[in-house]
Symmetry: C2
Subunit: 270 residues, 2 copies
């Protein structure tokens, strides 16, 4: 049985809660970490959020999310860089060591060109992040999101990218939902080693109820969670483990009951 | 502009047609190749099908499909081997040089164990196929099908498997829908070289209307078809190009009008 000491509630899991509700929910359930979303963060003054987090003794494990670098025009790219700078600042202001990146789709460019645009944006942002003590976490998404969300689709590719960038401000985020199918996943987790900046858990339901909002609670699907957790442990990652479940049914349910269920699942299956 | 000399109609594209209708449809549209499905083949006596194919001067590019090797019990595995032997015989009887394989999901096994089961089944079947002049085509499926259809999900993995088996009766099938997202796809197509036993085209629509029955007609989506076609050409593949589109809207439409549209799209986009 796992304890909750490394459990982090990624806010999207219980999207029906505002940030203050989520903070209070974490306290009620004995949770010490939270993954914050920018739209939720924007709902109240930053100073208030900082006070709530401090009063709740809650550590922010990540801010979600930056990225979407692959805009086709230089004007849009410039705007995205600016927005990512703000996201880095917000991360620093709430004490988040990590900004999670969804790197963006091709948007009419070739995959190769879009991938170069991602690399260039990361190279531009890495020093800015490093100066503020924030790590940029490249999160490879499942290949079924390649057309609409991310041209970065495997951990091998994220590792390659991080190697080229060679910055301590660039890491990778391992999300089991996105990576479980990959025959190279264990090898690439080992290769990522100290580059691992975050670990996300959920499950792959069979059949998948929805491509976007059909993720399952841990143990309800087919992902070898203990195997991947063990690989991440062996690679040396000892930080928070974020539960990030995009699921409409969870959003429609009583959040405290859902969180209780999620904590129980985490203890047994992660 | 491409001509239709290498065009092959995979029967699933116009599933509303029985095999005889499909053969006659190919003749009407000047098509010289067809990819046959086993359930359609079973609808009439083999001798009759052979005569229809001969009269139509139609070459069979493939039989779909064998595989599903990863059954959890030895009894079920034995039954699957037997069924695949029959599929190899059917391929030989209709003059198909290729049996396309969907290798099967994990079905409660670990991904690693299921992948070993696939390897063992292929090793057992390869001599049987080789003696009958039939190639076993490992078709890596999109990772979104890993839980329900195939633990073989990348061309790199299919190439690794084919290398280990080291049999001239084992090849790989390159399907753009399954592989377009992979940063390694061009390198792995080059590596596959003379191992490429089939090339399937369709498109990835944005948004994808359905995980299973939402494939698009070539040119309607985001896949770099000309780039992948060029990579397959460079790798030396000169065989039929199968149009394999799983799409409910095509099945609900007039098949001759749909085939006309598909031929036009093929000329422009493949």
């Amino acid at each position: 049985m796992n304890d909750l000491s490394r459990f982090s509630l990624n806010q999207i899991t219980l999207k029906q809660w505002g940030l203050r509700d989520a903070i209070e929910g974490c306290v009620r359930h004995g949770i010490g970490h939270i993954g914050v979303w920018r739209d939720k963060l924007a709902e109240q003054p930053m100073a208030e959020t900082r006070r709530h987090l401090r009063d709740a003794r809650l550590q922010v494990s990540s801010l979600c999310r930056g990225g979407f670098f692959s805009a086709p025009t230089s004007q849009e790219r410039g705007a995205m860089i600016e927005d990512n700078r703000r996201a880095i600042e917000e991360s620093a202001e709430i004490g988040s060591p990590l900004l999670v990146l969804v790197c963006g789709p091709a948007r009419g460019q070739t995959l190769g060109d879009a991938r170069l645009a991602v690399r260039d944006a990361l190279a531009e942002l890495a020093p800015y992040a490093g100066e503020r003590g924030v790590k940029l976490g490249i999160e490879p998404l499942h290949p079924m999101y390649a057309a609409e969300r991310s041209v970065i689709v495997t951990l091998g590719q994220a590792n390659d990218l991080a190697e080229v960038l060679a910055s301590t401000a660039v890491g990778v985020v391992v999300d089991v939902f996105h990576l479980w199918w990959d025959p190279a996943v264990e090898r690439e987790i080992a290769r990522a080693a100290e580059r691992i900046a975050g670990f996300h858990v959920s499950d792959w339901l069979v059949p998948l109820p929805d491509m976007l909002l059909g993720r399952g609670v841990m143990g309800d699907g087919v992902i070898d969670l203990l195997g991947l957790r063990s690989a991440v442990d062996r690679a040396g990652y000892a930080g928070p483990i974020e539960v990030e479940i995009f699921n409409q049914a969870l959003w429609d349910s009583d959040p405290d009951a859902a969180l209780e269920r999620i904590c129980t699942a985490y203890r047994s299956f992660v």
